[in-house]
C-alpha cells in the first residue's frame, strides 16, 4: 500500500506527478532503486520513511540534492529541467497520488517471479546460511574438485582514485577523486583455466555425480568453437577471452558452488586493491611485478610468478587485463562512496591493469580500457556469442567477495549486466 495522500497544496503552477515526476524517477532512479533495493525510491512511504524527501523543503531532500550535485544518477547529471521538476514537486509538498506505483523500466527490472531471480534468492539463502557457519576462509577449494584459490582480505578505507600524473596527461583517469569503499576480499590471483574450465564444462567439475539445482540453473558458456587458450597454456595460466557477461556468470556459478558471495570488482575496488596504498600509478620497477610487452615473450604467463603488491595480490598489473563491473564513464570530481556505474549499453565496459600485450605505460593502476565490438571480431557467426571475445586474448578477471552480503536484487544486478547481446 502506498502512504496517505498529503494535502500540501501550492498556489504556484502545480507539478504533475504522473506526467512530470514519475517518468524521471522510473527512468533515471528505479533501475537501481526499485522496491527491495537498499535505497528504495519506489513508494511514497519509503521516500518519507528514509527521509529522501522532506515535503516542502528541497534542500533537505537528498533525492533533490543528489541530483543537483550530480552525484546521482551515476550515468551523469540530469537535464536542468528535470532537476527543477523534482525540486518544484518537493517544494509543493511532494504529492503522490494514491495508488501510484512506480516500476523500473521493463528491460532492466528483473521480475520477481523470474526463474533466474528465484535462483538468485536460493543462492543467497545458501550464502547466508554458510556465513553463519564459520568465518570466511582465505583458501577455498571448489567443491568436488582439487582446485583451490586464495582470498586476500582488504579493509574498508579511502583512497585517491584516478591518475596522479599531471592533469591532462591521462584524461580518462582524471580528475583524481576521493573514494571510500567497504571491506571485501579479493582473489590473490587471476582466475585460471583450471578454475574456469569447471564452469565451461559441467562434466569436468564433477557436477554429473553431484547434482545441485542452484548450480545447474546458472547459465553457462556454449562450447567454444576455437581453442580458447590460443596455444598459450592451460594449467596455472589465466583464463582469457571471456565476455564480462561470462565473468559475471562465473561469479554466480562460484557463489552457488561455494555458498560465498562473489562478483567482479567495481572499478574503484580494483584500483584500490591495485594501488594497495601506492600513490604512484605504477611501481618504478614494473618488470618485477608485471608481465607486459617487454618481458612476456608474446604470451601470458603462469599466474603468481612475479612479486605480489603490498597487499599480497599477484599480477594486478600486466599478464592479463582484468574485467571490472563498471561501464565506462568519465570520472566526476568530488568524493564518492562505493561507486559503481552499471551498464546500459553493450559497450564499453571497463577492463584494467594492462596485459602481456601492452607497453609499460599501459600497465598502470590508473589506465582504463573500454571494451569494443572488435574484441569479438573472429566470431563468424550471428548472433555473435555472448560468452567469448575471441580477439581479446589478453583479457581475464578475478573476483571479489564483499564483506557485506547484498540483497537478492542487488546480486541479480551484479550477475546480470543486461547488455550481453550486442546492439547494432
Amino acid at each position: 500500500m502506498l502512504g496517505a495522500v498529503l494535502l500540501h497544496l501550492s498556489l504556484a503552477a502545480q507539478v504533475d506527478f504522473r506526467s512530470a515526476v514519475a517518468p524521471i524517477l522510473e527512468q533515471q532512479c528505479l533501475q537501481c532503486h526499485a522496491a527491495g533495493a537498499h535505497v528504495d525510491l519506489s513508494s511514497h512511504q519509503r521516500l518519507l520513511d528514509q527521509k529522501y524527501v522532506t515535503p516542502g523543503n528541497p534542500s533537505k531532500s537528498p533525492l533533490y540534492t543528489s541530483l543537483e550535485k550530480g552525484s546521482m544518477p551515476p550515468g551523469g547529471k540530469l537535464p536542468a529541467a528535470q532537476i527543477a521538476a523534482i525540486r518544484d514537486w518537493i517544494a509543493q509538498g511532494a504529492a503522490w497520488p494514491s495508488g501510484a506505483v512506480l516500476t523500473a523500466p521493463k528491460s532492466q527490472a528483473p521480475p520477481a517471479q523470474d526463474a533466474e531471480m528465484q535462483n538468485v534468492r536460493e543462492i543467497r539463502e545458501r550464502i547466508l546460511a554458510h556465513q553463519q557457519q564459520k568465518p570466511q576462509p582465505s583458501k577455498i577449494t571448489i567443491p568436488n574438485t582439487t582446485v583451490s584459490y586464495d582470498m586476500v582480505p582488504i579493509a574498508a578505507g579511502d583512497f585517491q582514485m584516478g591518475s596522479s600524473a599531471k592533469p591532462g596527461s591521462n584524461p580518462s583517469a582524471q580528475p583524481q577523486h576521493e573514494v571510500r569503499l567497504d571491506a571485501f576480499s579479493m582473489q590473490a590471483h587471476e582466475v585460471t583455466w583450471d578454475e574456469y574450465r569447471f564452469f565451461m564444462f559441467a562434466n569436468q567439475a564433477g557436477e554429473t555425480g553431484h547434482k545441485d539445482a542452484a548450480v545447474d540453473a546458472v547459465s553457462r558458456p556454449t562450447r567454444p568453437y576455437v581453442e580458447m587458450s590460443f596455444g598459450m597454456g592451460i594449467n596455472g595460466y589465466p583464463a582469457i577471452s571471456m565476455t564480462q557477461h561470462a565473468a559475471n556468470k562465473y561469479a554466480e556459478w562460484l557463489s552457488a558452488k561455494t555458498g560465498e558471495f562473489y562478483r567482479l570488482p567495481t572499478e574503484a575496488e580494483w584500483e584500490y586493491a591495485c594501488r594497495a596504498g601506492m600513490s604512484e600509478d605504477r611501481p618504478s620497477d614494473i618488470g618485477d611485478y608485471a608481465w607486459y610487452a617487454a618481458n612476456s615473450n608474446g604470451k601470458y604467463a603462469l599466474v603468481g610468478k612475479k612479486k605480489p603488491n603490498a597487499w599480497g595480490l599477484y599480477d594486478m598489473l600486466g599478464n592479463v587485463m582484468e574485467w571490472t563491473l563498471d561501464a565506462y564513464a568519465p570520472y566526476k570530481a568530488g568524493p564518492q562512496t562505493n561507486p559503481w556505474v552499471p551498464a546500459t549499453e553493450p559497450y564499453p565496459q571497463v577492463a584494467r591493469g594492462g596485459s602481456w600485450n601492452d607497453p609499460a605505460d599501459a600497465v598502470s593502476c590508473a589506465v582504463r580500457v573500454g571494451s569494443d565490438p572488435s574484441w569479438k571480431q573472429q566470431d563468424p557467426q550471428l548472433p555473435k556469442s555472448i560468452w567469448y571475445l575471441t580477439d581479446a586474448q589478453w583479457l581475464g578477471f578475478r573476483l571479489v567477495r564483499p564483506a557485506k552480503v547484498p540483497t537478492a536484487e542487488e546480486m541479480y544486478k551484479y550477475w546480470n549486466n543486461g547488455v550481453e547481446h550486442d546492439e547494432h
Binding site: 576455437v226 581453442e227 596455444g231 566470431d379 563468424p380 550471428l382 589478453w394
Partner: protein, 430 residues
C-alpha cells in the same frame, strides 16, 4: 514443411557433362551498368554462419539488400532475419518478405529464380556443388562457405562450375577465411619471400571440442524421416559435412595448400578413427595425415574433436633457416635466422571476404576462388581417403576418385541408411 524430392543435378553431371566443352564468350550478365544501385542478395542456409555472412554482405555495400532466403526450417529463417534486422543500419535492407522465404531442399532454386544478383551458400557442405552449379548456370555471383564438396566427384563438378563462372565473368568467393586475413597474408608473404629458408615441413593442429555432437536417437521425434534427422544433425554424417578433417580442419589444410603455393602433394598416408560413440553418426573424431610434397617436403595435419582433451589450433612451419609459428599467441612469429613478429591492425577477415566480393561486382572485375577452394577441399578429402582406407593415396588417385558419398537422390521424407563408419584395411578406396 513441403515435400521436396530433389533428384540432384549431380546425376547429370556424373552422366556426361564432365569434359564437355564449356560455353564460351558469355557476356557479363551482371555488369556495373546493370547494378547501378541495389545488389540483391539471396541467402541459402540461414544458420549462424549464413546469418553472419549475410550481415557481412550488407555491411560490404550500402546498396546491398537481402531479398530472398532459403532454409529447411522456418524458425531458422525467422531467427536469422530478426538477428539481421537488429542492426539499425541494415534493417531497411533486410527485405526478404514471407513470399521470398523459401523452405525445403529445392528452396535454393527459388532464391535463384527470385531475381537476386548474389547468392550466399551456407548450407551443410554436401549440397554445395549442386547449389553452386545452379547459381552459376543462372548467372549469379556467389559467396560460398568452405568446404565446397564432400567427395571428389563434387570437387570435380565445382572445378567445372568455377570455370564456367570465369567464362561468364561472375565472381566466386570462398569462405576459406585465412586467405582474407591481412595478418596471415603478411605472414605467408614472409614465407614465400624466403624468410624460413627452404621449406622443410608444415605441422598443423586442429584439436577442439566436438562441434555439433549427435544427440541420442531417443531425441528423434516420431515420424521424422532419415533425411530430415540427418540434415538437422548434419555435422555427424559424412555425406553432409565431409567429416571433421574436411569440414573444420580444412582451414589448416588450406594454409598448408597456401604455403605450398597451391601445388598438389604427391601422396599421403593417414590414421583416424572414432573413440567416443557416434550415436548413429558416421564421422571420425580424430585424424592425423602425413602429406608428401615434391622434394621430400612434408605436411602433417592432426585434428581431434573430443571433449576434455588438450586443445590447440596452431601451425608450425619449419624451414632450413627459421621456424614460423601461427596460433601460439595472438600473432604469428618467425624465429631463427629471421626474427619477425606480425604487428598491425587486424582486419575482420570475414568482412573482407564480402568487401572484396562486392567491390569486384561493382567494378566488374570478377574474383574467382574456384580452383584453390577445390584444391584445398580435395587435399582434405585425400587425407580422409587415406585414413578411411588405411592406404597410401596419390593426388591423382584422389582427383579421380569415383567415391559417391553424396546420395544421388535426397528425398526430404525418404529413408536414407547411414553408411557404416569407415574401417581402415577393410574400407576400399573407390
Amino acid at each position: 514443411m513441403k515435400i521436396d524430392k530433389v533428384v540432384s543435378d549431380r546425376r547429370n553431371f556424373i552422366k556426361g557433362t564432365a569434359g564437355a566443352a564449356l560455353i564460351a564468350g558469355f557476356p557479363a550478365i551482371i555488369s556495373s551498368q546493370s547494378v547501378t544501385n541495389a545488389i540483391k542478395v539471396g541467402l541459402v542456409g540461414c544458420g549462424g554462419r549464413g546469418t553472419g555472412a549475410a550481415s557481412q554482405a550488407l555491411h560490404a555495400d550500402d546498396y546491398a539488400e537481402l531479398t530472398a532466403v532459403a532454409d529447411i526450417d522456418q524458425a531458422q529463417i525467422d531467427k536469422s532475419l530478426k538477428t539481421l534486422k537488429a542492426y539499425s543500419q541494415l534493417q531497411s535492407r533486410v527485405r526478404a518478405e514471407s513470399s521470398n522465404q523459401f523452405l525445403g531442399l529445392d528452396a535454393y532454386k527459388k532464391v535463384i529464380d527470385s531475381g537476386v544478383d548474389v547468392v550466399i551458400l551456407t548450407t551443410p557442405p554436401g549440397f554445395r556443388p549442386t547449389h553452386l552449379a545452379a547459381c552459376i548456370d543462372a548467372n549469379k555471383h556467389v559467396f560460398c562457405e568452405k568446404p565446397i564438396a564432400t567427395d571428389a566427384l563434387g570437387v570435380r563438378w565445382v572445378l567445372e562450375t568455377s570455370e564456367k563462372a570465369k567464362q561468364k565473368n561472375l565472381s566466386l568467393v570462398a569462405g576459406f577465411c585465412w586467405r582474407y586475413s591481412n595478418m596471415i597474408e603478411d605472414t605467408f608473404q614472409q614465407l614465400h619471400g624466403g624468410a624460413l629458408g627452404r621449406l622443410v615441413a608444415y605441422y598443423a593442429t586442429y584439436y577442439t571440442n566436438p562441434v555439433k555432437p549427435m544427440p541420442p536417437a531417443s531425441e528423434r521425434p516420431a515420424g521424422m524421416s532419415d533425411t530430415e534427422w540427418q540434415i538437422r544433425n548434419w555435422y555427424n554424417f559424412v555425406w553432409l559435412c565431409g567429416d571433421s578433417l574436411v569440414e573444420q580442419a580444412v582451414h589448416s589444410v588450406d594454409k598448408v595448400a597456401w604455403a605450398m603455393n597451391d601445388e598438389p602433394p604427391v601422396s599421403c598416408v593417414g590414421v583416424g578413427g572414432r573413440v567416443i560413440p557416434a550415436e548413429g553418426g558416421n564421422i571420425y573424431d580424430h585424424f592425423e595425415i602425413n602429406y608428401l610434397y615434391p622434394n621430400g617436403v612434408r605436411a602433417f595435419i592432426a585434428n581431434r574433436q573430443i571433449e576434455g582433451c588438450y586443445n590447440e589450433n596452431s601451425d608450425y612451419v619449419l624451414g632450413t633457416d627459421s621456424t614460423l609459428t601461427i596460433g601460439r599467441g595472438p600473432v604469428p612469429r618467425i624465429e631463427g635466422k629471421t626474427n619477425w613478429t606480425w604487428s598491425g591492425q587486424k582486419y575482420d577477415m570475414y568482412q573482407r571476404e564480402h568487401d572484396l566480393l562486392f567491390a569486384a561486382i561493382r567494378k566488374n572485375q570478377p574474383m574467382n576462388d574456384g580452383k584453390r577452394m577445390a584444391t584445398s577441399t580435395l587435399l582434405a578429402l585425400m587425407g580422409r581417403m587415406a585414413a578411411y582406407t588405411g592406404q597410401q593415396i596419390t593426388w591423382d588417385q584422389a582427383m579421380n576418385s569415383q567415391e559417391k558419398i553424396f546420395p544421388e537422390t535426397v528425398d526430404w521424407h525418404g529413408s536414407l541408411p547411414v553408411a557404416p563408419r569407415a574401417e581402415p584395411g577393410i574400407t576400399k578406396f573407390v
